[in-house]
């Protein structure tokens, strides 16, 4: 079986009366020649790396190597304790964990690419907050990572997960869609509802350009992870409530691909356009590299 179309994946899960996570696991067993136990253990080890990165920056402030960013996960964590937030505490916690992962990443610390390093905060942010909620076991969550993987494979094979090729929608958008779909399955949603969650989450990320200041995976990457963790939770709730993505998820993925191809190079990870080209963006770049850089 190949991961290129979500509607095929949904049909197969329905036909076999199984979950998308189980389909992914079957394929992994077949391709890798490892046992289910070995594969689950490997994923579990990765989940521990995710957890470590998610908690680190909330517990103590973590700063990037350049000194441009850091400490935001800790700030949000402290604010959460005041009990006056607009967002529900668990949602805000997901945000703080997501921020932490990307702060650790910017400090050249250890993370798990989900699907990329720039977008590595969204999935662990949401998943570790669900672990802390006590509603799902570590085992359930590790299994749900296979749902996320299957959704990621579909997007990667039919469009792109690279900011250089498809803009930030391909990284942050894909991570948001993978997370939303995975937790819909975790929360008891049907494969069709998983598809809607992917469509809804991705639609809300379309057009997002990759414009990191100084070409560094810091500004706006870190805050985008924090905010899109919230989007992923919201899209999952929408889908579980019965809201449908009128444009089918596969077509949304194709739209993302077409939009990515139409994006100028300056908005695809070159660090030359968008936020990177603002006066502050350019000044920060100069501060890090100590020289003037040509921008468009």
């Amino acid at each position: 079986m190949s991961f290129t179309h979500l509607h095929e994946l949904i049909r197969m899960a329905d036909e076999k009366q199984t979950s998308i996570a189980n389909l992914m696991l079957e394929v992994e067993i077949e391709q890798s020649l490892h046992t289910e136990k070995e594969i689950l253990e490997r994923m579990n080890r990765q989940f521990f790396v995710m957890e470590e990165a998610a908690r680190k920056g909330v517990e103590t402030p973590v700063y990037s190597r350049t000194g441009l960013t850091g400490g935001d996960a800790h700030r949000v964590g402290a604010y959460l304790k005041r009990g006056t937030s607009f967002l529900a505490p668990q949602t805000l916690q997901a945000m703080s964990f997501a921020l932490s992962v990307n702060e650790v990443n910017a400090g050249m610390g250890r993370i798990v690419a989900t699907p990329t390093a720039g977008s590595a905060g969204i999935l662990p942010g949401v998943f570790i907050s669900l672990l802390d909620s006590g509603r799902y076991s570590r085992e359930d969550l590790v299994r749900a990572l296979f749902t996320a993987a299957a959704l990621g494979l579909v997007i990667a094979n039919s469009a792109s997960i690279s900011g250089a090729a498809g803009g930030c929608q391909a990284e942050i958008g894909s991570a948001t869609a993978m997370t939303a779909g995975a937790i819909v399955e975790l929360g008891g949603g049907t494969p069709t509802q998983v598809g809607h969650a992917v469509g809804l989450a991705l639609k809300n990320s379309l057009g997002l350009v990759c414009d990191p200041v100084g070409g560094l995976v810091e500004i706006p990457c870190i805050i985008r992870n924090g905010l899109h963790a919230v989007t992923a939770l919201a899209a999952a709730d929408m889908a579980l409530a019965g809201v449908k993505s009128v444009i089918p998820a596969d077509e949304v993925i194709q739209a993302m691909y077409a939009i990515g191809n139409a994006m100028p190079e300056s908005l695809r990870e070159t660090g030359l356009g968008g936020l990177a080209a603002t006066p502050t963006g350019k000044a920060l770049r100069e501060r890090v590299f100590g020289k003037k850089v040509e921008t468009e």
Binding site: R42, M108, P115, L153, A156, S162, A164
Partner: protein, 222 residues
């Protein structure tokens, strides 16, 4: 299909900050090192597109260097690869160059050891996945995700038949086989991906049974 494994979407475990600029770059360096098959003495990296524009910020330079020194993508010393390179006497340079019509994150690695040289062009496709585009000037593609044999040989009739016969009788399943040559009857490189782990004795057997074979290198799956 570009991606097949769950661990390409959830993974790799890596040192930040960028899967295409850091993890992918480490892997490209690893590939060049494995093909060289000895300690590198000097290396030149030629980067194109967004790879060059942003390489310092993403630590791509450190990652490529760490890769040719054999570090893994989650090695804590990736961020100090330049210092370590100087300590071990590895000479390195970085240049900007338009290499051709490849993915924007593409680099040429010219690696020199005491006995061998490797001239490799590879792309970082995103999420840490890489693809070799050229080897020693020949258009050769492989990802290093499977165990790969790189066979340097004279282009003569029957070569592929002999190679597949040896692999078959030694219990290897060929996943992909492709031959590229400079000209008919000249120098050629064959890349062969197999499903199994490559045992040490295989290289000897290949050398004895396949007369056209000049050299073999092994790239173990990433």
């Amino acid at each position: 299909m570009k991606y097949q494994s769950a661990f390409e979407m959830i993974g790799p475990v890596m040192v930040g900050p960028s899967s295409s600029h850091t993890a992918g770059a480490v892997r490209i360096g690893n590939l060049a090192r494995e093909i060289l098959n000895e300690e590198p003495r000097s290396v030149e990296f030629r980067l194109m597109g967004s790879f060059y524009e942003t390489y310092q910020g993403h630590g791509t330079d450190l990652a490529l260097l760490a890769g040719v020194m054999g570090y893994s993508t989650d090695h804590p010393a990736v961020s100090e690869a330049d210092k370590r390179a100087t300590e071990v006497g590895l000479v390195y340079t970085f240049k900007k160059e338009h290499l051709g019509f490849f993915h924007p994150n593409t680099v040429a690695v010219l690696l020199h050891g005491d006995r061998h040289n490797v001239d490799l062009i590879a792309s970082s496709l995103g999420g840490g996945k890489v693809e070799v585009q050229e080897l020693d000037g020949l258009s050769i593609r492989f990802s290093g995700e499977k165990n790969t044999l790189i066979l340097y040989h004279a282009d003569q009739q029957g070569f592929l038949a002999k190679v597949s016969h040896v692999l078959d009788s030694e219990g290897y399943n060929i996943a992909r086989l492709s031959l590229e040559r400079w000209r008919r009857g000249g120098y050629a490189i064959t890349v062969c991906e197999v499903d199994e782990e490559i045992r040490g004795d295989l290289l000897e057997i290949l050398h004895t049974k396949v007369s056209q074979l000049k050299d073999v290198r092994v790239v173990r799956s990433l």
